[in-house]
Symmetry: C2
Subunit: 239 residues, 2 copies
Amino acid sequence: MITSASNPRLKLVRRLESRRARDKLGLFACEGEDLVAAALDAGIEPVEALVDAERPALVERLTGAELVEPALLAGVSTLGHPPRVVAVFRRDDLPRGTGPPVGLALWQVGDPGNVGTLLRAADALGPAFVALSPGCADPTGAKALRAAMGATFRVPTAAWDEAPAPKAALVATAGTALWKAELPERVTFVLGSERDGLPAGVAAACDLCVSIPLAGAAESLNVAMAGTIALYEHRRRVG
Amino acid sequence: MITSASNPRLKLVRRLESRRARDKLGLFACEGEDLVAAALDAGIEPVEALVDAERPALVERLTGAELVEPALLAGVSTLGHPPRVVAVFRRDDLPRGTGPPVGLALWQVGDPGNVGTLLRAADALGPAFVALSPGCADPTGAKALRAAMGATFRVPTAAWDEAPAPKAALVATAGTALWKAELPERVTFVLGSERDGLPAGVAAACDLCVSIPLAGAAESLNVAMAGTIALYEHRRRVG
């Protein structure tokens, strides 16, 4: 049982709060039994697993889990309610690629909640992949993991450059109304940042431009809502 | 110019961080020039307006605005970046009713981000109203106001009991696929809480049940995403 805050496993979890450390080590920490169970259900095993000694969870599924004093586990948590389990995973074990027929390509979507929500949408309305440009929030950060609700372990991700054509840029105005657009059966929806949308050059490089027509004084939809709607529209058409 | 933290206007703004105070006084505080400008654009005037003395904003539109020492204004802000303006509005000045042909009725949606996002969706994909049950997050709290991006001042809200029939319950499974459902032209989509969805009795009291069919291992869509999709589907049909 771990009884010291200077235990190297606890220190690793704390260190992984920093994106730089995650990038360097290729690891990330995941809190809470629901998320860790989602990983195990997807066949992804952690490299470390720390379990609350007083409220153990998932121990029968986590070989090599270490029990930890509750206060110490709470100390490495980013949550209000301390988790019963924290596990460390390898980024390389996450699904990768652009295999599914539909996907999202995110241009500098910096809000981790939006990146996580879009992974959740790709999972629920897919199968779909998610390609991420440099400047996107890290999908393996704590907030993005929470918003994704386990989809992180099921949805393949790819680099921005890997997103296949044909591409449909989702722009705020001036595109064909999404519900009227002739969408290819295989399509990558390209979505811009929360603040600035898609740069003109990125939109121009796409095969078509579509918009979700907005009512009244509304200026835009949140990028997570726009991506969710695009995936729904595709899903509706394939039935 | 306000130079003391004990100024009654500053104290009022601080007090309005509490829902109980907002309920009692019928007032709420709104931070940031974008949100305050959205109110003014909608013809809604604040009862108090406090403006950063060093970076004044909207002063020409805010009659009776008081200049405040920047540190004092930052002190009453819930934001990371201190706002240039904080204004206090009357709840009774917000739009009310169930006039639009489509609406959302939210059952115990407790997350203020979701309530705000759904107001934003009702604004962008409407016109639509939003009815709220007891137990919903307060749409005039700081987080909900931010997520709504000004929609608070344009979208009519109503009490849960006021939502008109016909009602379509949005349930996780077992409803007709949303895109196949025969939706009335006037319809209230009924959405459940993040955690528990709709109680069976509430769903049974609706005129129809619809579901957004989900792929793979996904268990549910976030309530904000589900409501956004429902409004999109309605918008698509009316063209």
